[in-house]
Amino acid sequence: MSTVKLTVNGKAVAVDVEDRTLLVHVLRDHLNLTGTHVGCDTSQCGACVVHMDGRAVKSCTMLAGQADGANVTTIEGIAKGDELHPMQAAFRDNHGLQCGYCTPGMIMSAIDIVQRHGGQLDEATVRQELEGNICRCTGYHNIVKAVLDAAGRMKVSQAAE
């Protein structure tokens, strides 16, 4: 057992876990942040993506110990109170989800994509960059539309800040 200290969605937390515990299980089972999903558990689907120190990582493919001391943001941490994050709003407006299982990972990956590419996003880039996120429902079309829409909104909201 080890004590793992993290900042999750801005809050300092400490959990005592077995060394074999994965980051995703700390989030879901110890912190009750069940928005982060486990889809495949084989590092392929991206349903478990969270941000660690600003980078979108698969939380099913990290030991909790590797994240010790890190700043983690999950899907629960991106809205401002009742105001959805522009990426969440764009997914809703563009019908970018059906069952919603892949959505938290999609949104966390998509925010990372927009942050890396800024205003230079086009459809081909979004499709290429989403290759680590699998969706069984939508056929991706509306997800891609949502990400492009959000890229515009995120630029506007950054400019306003």
Partner: protein, 266 residues
């Protein structure tokens, strides 16, 4: 996953000494290969020793005619490094094609070459560029480092600290990605060294892992152009065959990827 004990090493020496003290330890870098394997219970190390936070093992540096990538540098940092893009653009491009963005944020060059997957990208670059693998004990030429499927010259407990690449006159990489796994169905790295030597390496093709392709090297030596390979035919014997492609298909891919890589190298 089986029970294990996690250690975070803060220096190469500490990692080596932790390894010596445990019964069946494994080094952990990005974990993008080792953790999936541990989750499937195909590996059950007593201890995992994390190299990912050792400062001396992270970074990309150029000095003179050598580009050095430290072993725990993630693929993303190589793909976006101005130093790497300037010295060997084909190598930064190769890093940008590995897996998906989340894998590239975590996976490292040291982990990739220590694992030596027969369809991994970096081994082709190391072999074609005649790179040197630096460990905590010695320096190993790429040609001596890769020893077949998932096998390398590394001894038990030996730690890769960096890989140094001589900057070539020209280099190019072309990859046919497996559409689901993103690994190379076949990919080829071509390089022309500053002294005029031509080296060509293919990954994803051979049953014994990354390989040099002599016939293509000879043809490019005579004429550095994609069309120089038009009449070449690569034998299918010894090449991988699976549901994704026959040995004959991969043999043809070796040639076509080499042509594209030469075109990209210019």
């Amino acid at each position: 996953m089986y029970q294990t004990t996690y250690h975070r090493a803060s220096s190469v020496d500490e990692a080596a000494s932790l390894f010596g003290k445990s019964s069946e330890a494994k080094f952990l870098a990005g974990g993008q290969t080792l953790l999936p394997v541990m989750k499937q219970r195909l590996a059950g190390p007593s201890d995992v020793i994390d190299l990912g936070k050792i400062k001396d093992m992270i970074g990309v540096e150029a000095s003179g005619d050598t580009l050095t990538i430290k072993a725990a540098t993630p693929h993303y940092d190589v793909a976006t490094s101005d130093t790497a893009k300037k010295a060997i653009p084909a190598l930064a491009y190769l890093a940008s094609l590995i897996g998906d963005p989340a894998v590239r944020y975590r996976g490292t060059i040291g982990g990739s070459i220590a694992n030596n997957d027969p369809a991994a990208d970096y081994p082709a670059a190391l072999l074609a560029l005649d790179a040197t693998v630096k460990t905590n004990k010695r320096s190993i030429a790429a040609g001596d480092f890769f020893k077949g499927l998932f096998t390398t010259a590394l001894e038990d407990g030996e730690i890769i600290t960096a890989v140094s690449f001589p900057v070539p006159a020209k280099a190019g990489y072309a990859k046919m990605r497996h559409p689901a796994s993103r690994f190379a169905l076949t990919a080829v790295f071509v390089a022309q060294t500053k002294s005029g030597e031509i080296r060509v390496a293919a990954t994803g093709a051979s049953q014994s892992g990354v390989m040099r392709v002599g016939a293509i090297e000879a043809a490019l030596k005579a004429n550095w152009s994609p069309s120089a390979l038009d009449s070449i035919s690569i034998p299918a014997s010894g090449l991988l065959a699976d549901i994704h492609g026959t040995a004959e298909y991969r043999a043809n891919l070796v040639k076509v990827m080499a042509q594209r890589a030469v075109a990209a190298a210019g």
